[in-house]
């Protein structure tokens, strides 16, 4: 286990390097710059601005400058939020997204795996059909529609929850439910399919033949084996959830970092694009490493090198 962790951490460096380089290239290939505005700047002023951010240097030099400061852990200044560093922006936004993301992760895994088990228990039963309907609803309802529906029903009409903003735990309920719905639906289907697959396997049949109760068979024997695809998905899902969601943060006016994935791109705020991208990369790498470790725990014969 330890060697795997070490090896992954070492291989994270080239991964990060490649992501940073490719993102840098992508950013510069996409037309439009950070200081292109509806009201065009006089050329001399444009030049002043570009000089301030070293955008007047040749691109290779900008790349070296940027990678240099990156190596020191400095993401540089934001081009949109003047006077704020990308490090500051991430430091302030990440805790919010982390909190929302972890709640949503727990909720979606609990609901997803729970529904999956209930559905696989008696395939074809009304419980299974209900679970299926819930899942399809979760797949096909756009997040923005779901979020607004929750706001209209639970906040606007019934006044159970505040409709938006970030002033305390009551304000987290609707965004967390909105964030969790689609992943829960996906996990439920995945878990059910995988469980049904596993239930046909010899060791499960053996357990059944031994006269064990069905619930025991599922929870003790089948589930562990059936969780592999769930775990595969939960890795990137975690990274996605804790870095926030543009739609949910917009609908509920939350100060998370998810919106930066979109607005930094539309603003061409190069350092901020880089900041959120690399942060996401780190989380993806960590999540996948944990997933690979979990494979081994779920099935000791699986060994990832």
């Amino acid at each position: 286990m330890l060697p795997l962790v070490l090896r992954r951490l070492v291989s994270a460096i080239p991964t990060l390097f490649i992501v940073a380089t490719l993102s840098f290239v992508l950013m510069r290939l996409v037309p439009g710059g950070p200081f292109d505005r509806e009201k065009k700047l006089p050329p001399a002023i444009q030049a002043n601005v570009e000089r301030k951010y070293h955008l007047d240097e040749p691109v290779w030099k900008q790349y070296l400058l940027y990678m240099g400061s990156l190596a020191r852990g400095d993401f540089g200044p934001s081009y949109k939020y003047l006077g704020r560093s990308v490090n500051d922006i991430l430091r302030e936004a990440f805790p919010v997204s982390l909190q929302l993301g972890l709640f949503s992760l727990v909720l979606s895994v609990l609901c997803g795996v729970g529904t999956g088990i209930v559905s696989a228990w008696r395939p074809g039963s009304w419980l299974d059909r209900g679970g299926g309907l819930f899942s399809v609803l979760g797949f096909s309802l756009p997040t923005f529609v779901l979020g607004s529906l929750l706001v209209f029903s639970l906040a606007d009409s019934l006044h159970f929850f505040p409709p938006a903003l970030w002033e305390g735990w009551r304000f987290t309920v609707l965004p967390v439910v909105t964030l969790s719905f689609a992943p829960a639906a996906f996990l439920a289907r995945l878990c059910r399919a995988s469980l049904l697959e596993v239930m046909e396997k010899d060791f499960v049949r053996t357990a059944r033949a031994k006269g064990l109760r069905e619930s025991r068979v599922i929870l003790r024997h089948a589930l562990k084996n059936a969780l592999t695809p769930v775990v595969s998905v939960v890795g990137p899902l975690t990274a996605g959830l804790v870095t926030g969601s543009f739609v949910v943060e917009t609908i509920f006016s939350l100060p998370g970092m998810g919106k930066h994935f979109v607005t930094a791109v539309t603003n061409r705020d190069y350092p901020l694009i880089m900041g959120v991208t690399l942060m996401y990369t780190v989380l993806i790498i960590l999540a996948n490493m944990i997933v690979d470790l979990l494979y081994g725990i779920l099935d000791p014969r699986v060994r990832v090198e």
């Binding site: 090896r7 291989s11 991964t15 490649i18 992501v19 490719l22 993102s23 992508l26 950013m27 290939l29 996409v30 037309p31 395939p123 074809g124 299926g132 399809v136 797949f139 096909s140 309802l141 756009p142 923005f144 529609v145 607004s148 209209f152 996906f186 289907r189 995945l190 399919a193 995988s194 049904l196 697959e197 046909e200 396997k201 010899d202 084996n225 592999t228 695809p229 595969s232 998905v233 890795g235 990137p236 990274a239 994935f261 979109v262 791109v265 539309t266 694009i273 959120v276 991208t277 990369t281 993806i284 790498i285 996948n288 997933v291 494979y295 779920l298 014969r301 699986v302 990832v304 090198e305």
Partner: protein
């Protein structure tokens, strides 16, 4: 024991199939079936609720929503299906190879998956739109490019697990060709999760297209797609609910049909579900 269950399963499968065929026909023949043109504006019929002359009501410009839904179905269905197929094809092969070969190859391939996961996909999508222009192909390509990685991770995880089973170990020891082991013995056993992933990809692509239209890569106006209709309808949700109800309901019904169809097809093709297990 499972006969009655099987029957309802098959009935739903048939209903779904009929629904999807009807939908596909209506989409392909939209120019015959649609009562109005997708861009036909009627200044006297703005924002009408559903009624006899306009089955699903009309939008801000007085265009018939039902007709726009039909024309939109063509685009959304082809984007949804092809993106799902392309990403599943690439993802399955990639994931299977990675998990089966293992070792260094697995490590390198999976690190590349991490890179693709992490790249800012919006930038990629904008770039594609600038390079190859817009329309179905660009959207397809952009969506497929970023969505195969999830499939690859799932399949690779499954393959890793299946590879440890006795019969695979035995087959490998007996010197069976890798191709046979992989495609005959391993991949069929991933069918369940694979199917779910494919079906999940379809609505994901249909909805992603609405996000694309928001940043300018979606179908250019005045064409319509379910995604753009849902996106536009959402803004009007509180005031003209018909503009969101119909697109959302159609996406839901379509995905439900794909789901039922997929499950009943699997029950048919894989008798192991009710009877004996295949090795």
């Amino acid at each position: 024991m499972g006969n009655a269950r099987l029957h309802t399963g098959h009935r739903r499968g048939w209903i779904s199939l009929i629904f999807l065929v009807a939908l596909g026909t209506a989409a392909l023949g939209a120019s015959w079936f649609a009562p109005y043109g997708y861009q036909q504006q009627d200044p006297r019929a703005m924002l009408l609720p559903p009624g006899w002359s306009h089955l699903m009501g009309t939008d801000l410009l007085g265009r018939d929503l039902f007709s726009r839904m039909l024309y939109g179905a063509r685009l959304s269905l082809s984007i949804g299906l092809s993106t799902a197929l392309i990403s599943v094809l690439i993802g399955t092969v990639y994931g299977a190879v990675s998990g089966y070969v293992g070792g260094r190859t697995d490590n390198v391939l999976m690190r590349w998956v991490e890179v693709v996961y992490s790249l800012p996909d919006l930038l990629l999508i904008i770039l594609i739109s600038v390079l190859i222009g817009r329309g179905a192909i660009g959207i397809l390509l952009a969506l497929s490019l970023v969505s195969w990685v999830t499939v690859a991770r799932v399949i690779r995880g499954e393959v890793l697990k299946i590879c440890t089973q006795e019969y695979i170990v035995a087959a490998r020891a007996a010197g069976a060709p890798h191709r046979v082991i992989l495609f005959r013995h391993i991949l069929p056993n991933t069918a369940g999760p694979l199917l779910v992933t494919v079906i999940y990809r379809i609505p994901a692509a249909i909805l992603a297209e609405s996000t694309l239209s928001f940043i300018g890569l979606g179908v250019p106006p005045p064409f319509s797609s379910w995604g753009t209709l849902a996106n536009d309808g959402w803004a009007a949700m509180k005031f003209y609910p018909h503009l969101i109800i119909f697109p959302a309901a159609m996406i839901f019904a379509t995905i439900l049909a794909f789901n039922s169809l997929g499950e009943s097809a699997r029950e048919r093709l894989d008798p192991g579900r009710t009877g004996t297990r295949r090795g």
